[in-house]
Amino acid sequence: MPWYDTDSWLTAAFAPHPATMAFTLLLVIALPILLHTFIYRKQTPTSLPGFVLLGPSGAGKTAFVTLAERSAVAQTHTSTSPLAIDAILPDTIVPTSAHYRSPGDPAYERARRLLLQDTPGHGKLRHFAAAQLANPINVRGIIFVVDAAAVADEAGLNEAAEYLHDVLLALQKRYTGAKTSKGPKEIPVLIAANKLDLFTALPPHLVKISLERAISEVRKSKAKGLKDSGVAMGGEDDGLDEEREWLGEGGDGPFEFRQMEEVGTTVTVKGGNVIGGDAADVQSWWEWIAEHL
């Protein structure tokens, strides 16, 4: 039917039709609100890009957070609750997203801000970290801090490896369990080998090798270990968890961080020290953060 016909939609749109009026009214009221929220969101992102700090107790997570916030480290003790702080990249570092902006541009300043989220590392308090991992809104990356001196001995290495294994497994599960075909947004992991100022500390490449080796062991014994009681007692997720989770590639080969790339997680190891030596040296960590901001 042609547009000038009395029944055509165009005619109806200009006629004093109740539906038309209702629609117009709705539009008039809703548009400013939508526009406002849109622009408002755009201008001040309600949530900054976040980086979550994980790692065993005493690794130096809180120390790093305080260093990031002020330019010197505060004294710290074992944390019992999480902490989130606004941090700004140091002046010497330009985030990849702001390469073409000039300093002074407000957008440039904004692109340098981030939220650092510290979590307690004590074995009994990892549920805070687990909650972050289960629902990583706005999380751009995970910084897993390890004490490079503590991983030099067996016990410290195992603790770090077990924790890291669980973290990587959670990320893998999130990736493989995603409903969309595209897969969820990639979450990279930085393994920050801290306390390199101590002479007992392992250099970063050895930290990497030891962790890979220890995770291979953890993975093996986890696979052989007992099933946990969830299924037998809860009854709620019967049959679901029967399949064992296996971190990284199948097969009996050793675990390597490289294998995590397949599930959308690149793992990088970088060394630094928050305290000590001549001064703190966390430049390489900042570079990594800037890269993923």
């Binding site: 005493g58 809180t62 957070v65 305080t66 916030e69 002020r70 330019s71 010197a72 480290v73 505060a74 004294q75 710290t76 003790h77 074992t78 944390s79 019992t80 609750s81 999480p82 902490l83 989130a84 702080i85 606004d86 939220l115 510290d118 307690p120 004590h122 074995g123 009994k124 308090l125 990892r126 549920h127 067996e154 195992n158 603790e159 077990e162 062991e217 953890v218 014994s221 986890k222 052989k224 270990g225 007992l226 099933k227 946990d228 009681s229 969830g230 037998a232 007692m233 809860g234 709620e236 305290i275 001064a279």
Partner: protein, 641 residues
């Protein structure tokens, strides 16, 4: 004398600290770990109404918290010293600090609180409290490591005049020659003294503040004198210096700021400042400088202000409790009701009584022992009082989440047990891994031992089962049946299993020892030792466990407990844990028959509560394969359902 006072957040950042004698960070860390996180040590207070204490190495720690702001105030002092005023100090400092910085502390996404001006307040508190208490004699008990403060303290009341007369000497010559005055001739430099020094003198004269400033200066002058007495002294001095400056930022940064700030000083201050600018920087700039500039003196103002803040904070607290108590005003009640629904209500003890009662009954129904319930509820209550409920959350749901957290915390082991890896590590050192099982009669020790054996066989270990139950007739045969079955199964699964037995009547400890020797000779890599069941209140049988532990020296001792057992579980766990003599305890629990109790899995909580030892295995059925690790999340869900 006080060694250190720290104000830190629950997230682990030290906001403010005052160090008289440096104390290792591990001391406060272990307070946090043992008392706050693992709750292994239930703090007790020495006198009724006093604050609880915690001892670590040679130190005693007392603390208080401001829950809503997430602050912990900790005082550390030598256990040898008896300080009566610490409780009061903690309370006052808390009131002051929350009063002064409460607003700053509520800011989100930051850990910075600018509390550099807090030092004078703190100093005044110490002076006042020390002045009112008669703790002077006890001071002599302090070992030399902390005696800096005391030496000055002793001299101060005794020789005010002398001190006054000689003050000019300090001003000019403190850097170079120690003058043989009572103060400086002491073995330890008086560098530390400022807190205690003006303690008695400060009040008696109007210009007391000047003295204290001078003392400060004097102290810091000594502090920065060239090192002459070796390493230890220089370390000490460094620590003292940093304490003086009240820097919580560590060692960086502050050194550069001083030269610019001296200028705005009145005459006396310049004098002070030039001789020791660095140490004065904070004080002069912020509070002291400003007030002296106006030509009036400081301490009076400070005192008044301080009293006001403390009074205001106390009044706040009082009004909170009062309004909670008198629900007579209908408007208040209505408002409370409304806020209970909408959220944003500050919880008081009264608010929590009823919901806690409900929670208590709920947990008791889940078969959690009374004692554990009380402790859980108390810890949750401690957690919640003074807290504001979130938006649109009721007290009940706040309580629920808090209880869930408490349960998760109590059940989650500090480090997880990975049996297979431990076996590997121990075998690598060339000896068999020894695991033994204890428990009361009839809880399923042999059955669970067999289940563990089956699990190990599946992983191709060579397992020797030792029958150390030489007491109950039929026990050895029963184990023999299990071993036969396991042998049958292991044909399919791989691995190898055998029984080690010496019949009845022999001493269990010796059998166990022999079994370990036999195992290493015959290339078994795991030894599982079954022991006789015994009532946990049977002193004779329990005492033989100590010898058993010594001779067999197991890598792990697990106790089997029944999920069905009720309130007895606490005593069972405790007695068994204590029966191996000092330095040795249980390493974990196996909870059997979990399949028979449905959601009433409270026994787990009771046993962990009693000992702080984790549950490592759960028996969930009649088959060899029915052994599980603990899933904390699902157990918590069951308990809260």
């Amino acid at each position: 004398m006080l060694d250190t006072f720290e104000i830190l957040t629950t997230s682990g950042v030290v906001l403010w600290s005052r160090t008289y004698v440096p104390v290792g960070a591990n001391i406060i860390n272990s307070l946090i770990r043992d008392v706050f996180i693992e709750e292994r040590i239930i703090p007790h207070s020495e006198e009724a109404g006093a604050k609880p204490t915690y001892r670590k190495e040679a130190y005693t720690l007392k603390w208080t918290a401001a829950k809503d702001l997430g602050l912990i105030f900790v005082a550390v002092y030598q256990s040898l010293v008896h300080l009566t005023w610490i409780d009061k100090l903690l309370d006052n400092v808390r009131a002051l600090f929350t009063g002064l910085y409460g607003e700053q502390l509520k800011k989100e996404h930051t850990s910075v609180v600018d509390c550099s001006k807090f030092t004078p307040y703190f100093e005044r508190q110490i002076q006042e409290l020390e002045g009112t208490s008669d703790s002077a004699p006890s001071v002599k008990l302090t070992p030399p490591s902390s005696s800096n403060g005391e030496s000055a303290e002793e001299s101060a009341p005794a020789l005010p005049a002398l001190q006054k007369a000689q003050r000019p000497l300090y001003d000019t010559s403190a850097d170079s020659t120690p003058v043989p005055t009572p103060d400086t001739s002491r073995p330890n430099t008086p560098g530390q003294g400022q807190g205690p020094t003006h303690l008695l003198t400060g009040k008696s004269r109007p210009g007391g503040g000047k003295l204290s400033r001078r003392d400060r200066k004097k102290a810091s002058a000594v502090t920065s004198a060239p090192a002459s007495s070796g390493d230890e002294a220089s370390v000490k001095r460094k620590a003292k210096g940093s304490a003086k400056k009240n820097r919580i930022w560590g060692e960086y940064g502050a050194e550069e700021e001083d030269s610019s700030t001296i200028l705005d000083y009145s005459q006396t201050d310049i004098q002070d400042g030039t001789s020791q600018p660095e140490a004065l920087e904070e004080i002069k700039q912020e509070t002291w400088g400003r007030k002296t500039g106006k030509g009036q003196f400081v301490l009076k103002d400070l005192d008044e202000e301080m009293d006001q803040i403390i009074a205001a904070e106390n009044a706040k607290k009082e009004s909170a409790t009062a309004s909670g108590g008198i629900v007579g005003s209908s408007l208040g009640a209505l408002g409370g009701l409304f806020r209970n629904v909408v959220g944003g209500k500050t919880l008081t003890k009264e608010d929590l009584v009823k919901p806690l009662k409900g929670m208590e009954e709920h947990l008791l129904k889940k078969n959690v022992a009374q004692e554990a319930v009380v402790r859980l509820c108390e810890s949750v209550e401690r957690d919640l009082i003074g807290l504001k409920t979130g938006n649109f959350t009721t007290i009940e749901s706040t309580l629920r989440t808090s209880m869930e957290k408490a349960l998760t915390k109590i059940l989650t082991p500090t480090s997880s047990l990975d049996l297979l890896r431990e076996i590997q590590t121990v075998n690598a050192s060339g000896r068999p891994y020894v695991l033994s099982i204890v428990g009361v009669n009839g809880v399923g020790k042999s059955t669970n031992l067999s289940k563990i054996a089956f699990f190990l066989l599946q992983n191709h270990h060579r397992v020797l089962i030792a029958a150390a139950d030489t007491f109950r007739s039929g026990a050895v045969e029963q184990l023999g049946v299990h071993v036969r079955n396991l042998k049958e199964l292991s044909k399919r699964e791989g691995g190898e299993v055998d029984l080690f037995q010496k019949g009845y009547g022999k001493d269990a400890a010796n059998i166990a020892q022999d079994a370990v020797v036999y195992a290493s000779k015959n290339d078994f890599n795991v030894v599982l030792i079954d022991t006789a069941g015994r009532r946990h209140n049977d002193a004779r049988l329990m005492s033989s466990l100590e010898k058993f532990g010594k001779l067999a020296n197991p890598d792990k001792i697990l106790m089997v407990g029944e999920a069905l057992v009720g309130s007895d579980s606490v005593a069972q766990a405790r007695n068994f844990n204590n029966s191996f003599g000092p330095g040795r305890g249980l390493d974990g629990f196996v909870i059997s028959k979990c399949d028979t109790v449905g959601d009433m899995v409270g026994t787990l909580v009771s046993m962990v509560h009693a000992t702080g030892i984790p549950v490592v295995f759960l028996g969930v059925g009649q088959h060899y394969a029915d052994l599980r690790g603990l899933n904390v999340g699902s157990v918590c869900r069951l308990l809260m359902s």
